[in-house]
């Protein structure tokens, strides 16, 4: 049986500061080595100051993943030399001497299957190594410590996945969940990383590291399964080892490093006293936790009669659900939901477009109101929304400016219908013989009015002119 397990690292980028100092948790906007201080640079004499908010965020994640959370937690030093590690040890957590990390023994439902979460721990991200130069002779490594000390949550699953597809579904669920919690931005480059471990029936466990994206992870897992199966078919033993994903060649390579043998000499980080997380704190965290995705979805379907597929899209994306929550009221919820999922989704389909979008919940509410009041057609509302995304102008402004107001005056529409009947004699004839083709004529009227004619009224007037 195929067994796949994951080790996911997620930065808590929504936090203001790093795990042990007041440098920014979001290091991405800085020049190299400009988001550093004596603490995150590990200068002699500096001491870590624990960011309590990071403990709270990590505990919220543990609770959202149905984990047991201990009464008090401790930090450990993981000792190893690496140039991206300013102190040459990483402050992390360990459960060898009892449950001292932020959470453990949780699970996530993935298509009806429980994927068990073995443990969740809070730790510091190392700096970043940047390799410059192409040939080995001139290769130099640059170190950027801006990232060093960024709060990182490590989530380790049991080897419960049966195939790479399940892994993908899980990662999507997890990434939506973390975003919904408001603690992380999994879409940010490098903010969420995953390593995998794979074994097949009768074979040893192989760890795969150095995987750049979730997309690559799926590919790496596929490659590794095929590799292991082909070894197995030829009766070659599958060695227990760590392999690195070669992004260029799209294969896994035995890392041949001593990494597996490394002794990290874990011991308590005494510069950080034990952190108590009492029942009261946990209750407050639980109370303040945003509504879960599944509960949101259920509410949308049951309370507002929104189609399950639509509710799914809305609830699983914090950005859309926030827009929806702030725009809707009892009566227009369904229309707002549809506006988001049919029109808005297409206009802001990239991260960049989403970040620059000027749409507010008020815009959405105004658009739906205008359509319902028949001052704007559905069609015009879509045009208006596209403009709003770019300019952020109010619906009222756009109605005046873009001449989008709905035409529902009968005589005005009648005039246009007369013109169409002149121009489209064949179509008029067709419509008389086959009433189902009447939509062609309605379409022509809409075209002429740039979508502003009231479609219901237009149909009614055409039908009466046709004598139907």
């Amino acid at each position: 049986m195929t067994k796949i397990g994951l080790e996911i690292h997620c930065q808590l980028t929504k936090l203001e500061s790093k795990l042990f100092c007041s440098c920014k948790a979001n290091y991405r906007e800085f020049e190299p080595n400009h988001n550093v201080c004596p603490v995150c640079m590990g200068l002699p004499g500096s001491l870590p100051r624990l960011n309590q908010k990071a403990v709270e965020s990590a505990t919220s994640i543990a609770m959202a993943l149905n984990c047991a959370t201990p009464e008090k937690i401790a930090f450990f030093r993981k000792n190893y030399f690496y140039p991206d590690l300013p102190k040459n040890f990483q402050i992390t957590q360990l459960n060898v001497y009892g449950d001292m990390s932020v959470g453990g023994e949780g699970y996530v439902d993935v298509e009806g299957k429980k994927i068990k979460i073995r443990r969740i721990q809070l730790e510091e991200d190392p700096g970043r190594l940047i390799y410059e130069g192409t040939s080995d002779r001139t290769k130099i490594t640059l170190v950027d410590y801006n990232r060093a000390g960024t709060p990182l949550v490590e989530i380790v699953t049991d080897p419960d996945f049966e195939n790479p597809r399940q892994v993908r579904v899980f990662l999507n669920i997890l990434s939506d969940l973390l975003e919904n919690l408001g603690v992380a931005e999994p879409g940010l480059e490098g903010a969420m990383r995953a390593d995998g471990n794979v074994s097949i029936e009768g074979g040893n466990k192989v760890e795969i590291k150095n995987i750049g994206s979730f997309h690559d992870l799926e590919k790496a897992l596929h490659f590794e399964l095929t590799r292991q199966q082909s070894l197995h078919e030829r009766d070659i033993e599958i060695a227990m080892e760590t392999r690195h994903w070669d992004d260029r060649r799209k294969i896994t390579i035995s890392s041949r490093s001593k990494e597996e043998d490394q002794d990290y000499r874990y011991f308590l980080e005494n510069d950080i006293p034990w952190v108590k997380i009492d029942q009261e704190t946990r209750d407050v965290l639980k109370k303040n936790m945003p509504e879960s995705i599944s509960s949101k979805k259920e509410r949308y379907v049951e309370k507002y009669d929104i189609a399950p597929q639509v509710a799914d899209i809305l609830s699983s994306d914090r950005y859309y659900s926030d827009l929806f929550e702030n725009a809707h009221n009892e009566s227009n919820a369904k229309d707002i939901a549809n506006l988001i999922t049919t029109d808005l989704l297409g206009f802001i389909d990239t991260r960049e477009k989403r970040e620059t979008s000027k749409v507010t919940p008020q815009h959405l509410a105004d658009l739906v109101n205008a359509v319902n009041a028949k001052t704007l057609t559905r069609n015009s509302s879509k045009i208006a929304l596209q403009e709003i995304v770019k300019s952020g102008k109010s619906v009222k402004e756009l109605l005046d400016e873009m001449d989008l107001g709905q035409v529902s005056d009968s005589s005005e529409i009648d005039n246009i219908i007369s013109q169409i009947f002149e121009e489209e004699k064949q179509a008029v004839q067709d419509a008389k013989e086959r009433p189902e083709t009447v939509n062609f004529l309605v379409g022509k009227v809409m075209q002429k009015t740039k979508g502003k004619a009231d479609p219901a009224k237009t149909l009614e007037l055409i039908k009466s002119k046709l004598g139907q």
């Binding site: 001491l47 100051r49 624990l50 030399f81 690496y82 011991f267 510069d271």
Partner: protein, 482 residues
């Protein structure tokens, strides 16, 4: 000008206009220039000391608010960071390290208008008991320059004893304040773990070490603790001491107090005849002061030195891992090295004692050995804590000589690491248990000092000072012959 004065007397004299801060600081610098060639207490001097003194004089003359220290001169152990000055830890590996920030204790001194004279010598990274392991040469004992001053804060103790300042800040991981205090006949306090911020103290074994004041008198020590103790947002391990005034009621006496004489520390094989005799005399003094003394046994003590070196080496191995010469350090050609070989090469600059402890620190907590060494050492530590807590249910103080022997000649023990380690026998207990302990100058025999150690329960510094002051009133220490 009499430089052999206490901080409290100095402050009175400055206030009454007997001399200016500048006059005193100038005289102190002259004294340093005169004697430090022999003593070698300092590694570097503060060039702006005179200027700092002038500024304080100006405050005094213009009736501005003056800090509590009134410009008294204080030296700082060279493992405590001060912005813009070198902090070497007496190591070649930090030869050119200039900290971009100042330790909390130094900030607090500056805020109260103390004048920093300079940075004092130590055993490299505070690992040693004689300052012979300084990469920049040993400090000499002002009582006899053929003898060691103790360590690792040997430079701090010698600077105070030789009147090259009125006080010093040392650090105490296993006795590094108390041992040289005893050897140089000054008062040295290792406070309760967490009482003084370690922010800016370069870590050796961070779970048990504390910065400690070293002074000529017990009252000066309490005065200094008032200034530097208390919670610090830059050090999560600091505790709220409720800011008591340690000088208040310091003369209260110890009438009716119960004192436990630690059996294991007063009957050990290594105890010298002179120290043994002095201890007995001090017990009589305590009884004469109205306290009752009896022997108490803490049976775990014989294992404490082994546990201490296991724990401190483990932490040192980790704390000193950052010295890889990548981000700061000294000039080294990097051509031809990949990072592992570069790090190995750069770390050959560590001296022999530091190297020994780093190697030990790589071994005792390693997989397959941790259970036999590191974890066992932690068990010794927790057993010792429960024993000492039980003792404090019955006794107000525990006493023992600070060091089992008097100062010895240079070179006498440096080649015998285990004998050197046993010098910590009486001091490591306070570190392993986090309890406050003070060394008080007791007597000078054959021209060499002996100090007595008093240990109190956690956060009982105020009571500890009362006992130390009481003992001090019973002693007569001759003038240092330098």
């Amino acid at each position: 000008m009499n430089l052999n004065t206490s901080i409290l007397q100095y402050i009175e004299d400055v206030k009454s206009g007997s001399f200016t801060v500048e006059e005193f600081i100038s005289a102190t610098i002259d004294r340093i220039k005169m004697v430090d060639g022999n003593v070698h207490a300092y590694l570097s001097l503060n060039d702006s000391a005179i200027n700092d003194a002038k500024l304080i004089d100006k405050k005094i003359s213009s009736n501005e608010k003056v800090g509590k220290c009134y410009g008294f001169p204080i030296s700082i152990k060279d493992n405590i960071c001060i912005t813009g000055t070198k902090t070497t830890c007496a190591s070649k590996i930090l030869e050119n390290f200039v900290a971009p920030y100042t330790a909390t204790v130094v900030n607090r001194l500056n805020d109260e208008d103390a004048v920093i004279t300079g940075k004092t010598n130590l055993d490299e990274f505070a690992m040693g008991l004689t300052t012979e392991f300084s990469a920049y040469g040993a400090t000499k004992n002002p009582w006899n320059i053929d003898y060691v001053p103790g360590g690792s804060s040997g430079g701090s103790a010698a600077s105070v004893a030789a009147n090259e300042c009125l006080a010093s800040l040392g650090s105490d991981t296993g006795g590094s304040v108390r041992n040289p205090a005893s050897f140089c006949s000054v008062v040295g306090l290792k406070p309760t773990y967490g009482l003084i911020s370690r922010y800016g103290l370069i870590s050796y074994a961070n779970s048990i070490e504390q910065i400690g004041p070293m002074t000529k008198t017990v009252k000066d020590n309490a005065f200094l603790l008032n200034i530097i103790a208390g919670q610090d947002s830059n050090d999560d391990t600091t505790i709220d001491n409720k800011n008591p005034d340690y000088l208040n009621e310091i003369e209260k006496g110890i009438e009716g107090k119960k004192i436990g004489i630690i059996k294991e520390m007063t009957t050990a094989d290594g105890l010298s005849q002179e120290v043994s005799t002095a201890t007995k005399e001090s017990i009589q003094d305590f009884e004469g002061l109205g306290a009752s003394c009896e022997e108490v046994s803490l049976p775990t003590i014989p294992y404490t030195v082994a546990a201490y070196y296991t724990i401190t080496s483990t932490e040192a191995g980790s704390n000193l891992a950052r010295y890889d010469n990548i981000r700061y350090g000294y000039e080294m050609e990097s051509e031809g090295y990949e990072y592992n070989s570069y790090i190995s090469k750069s770390r050959t600059k560590f001296g022999p004692e530091v190297t020994r402890r780093i190697i030990l620190g790589g071994f005792v907590p390693s997989a397959g050995h941790a259970g036999k060494y590191f974890l066992k050492a932690l068990k010794v530590k927790s057993k010792l804590i429960s024993e000492i807590n039980t003792a404090f249910e019955k006794y107000d103080y525990l006493i023992a000589p600070t060091a089992p022997v008097q100062p010895f000649r240079f070179g006498e023990k440096i080649d015998d690491p285990v004998t050197l380690m046993l010098l910590d026998y009486n001091t490591v207990t306070a570190n392993l248990t986090g309890k406050p302990a003070i060394s008080v100058p007791y007597s000078v025999i054959n021209g060499l000092p002996i100090g007595m150690q008093i240990i109190a329960n956690s956060l009982e510094e105020k009571s500890l000072f009362q006992a130390a002051y009481a003992l001090e009133t019973k002693t007569t220490i001759p003038e240092v012959p330098l």
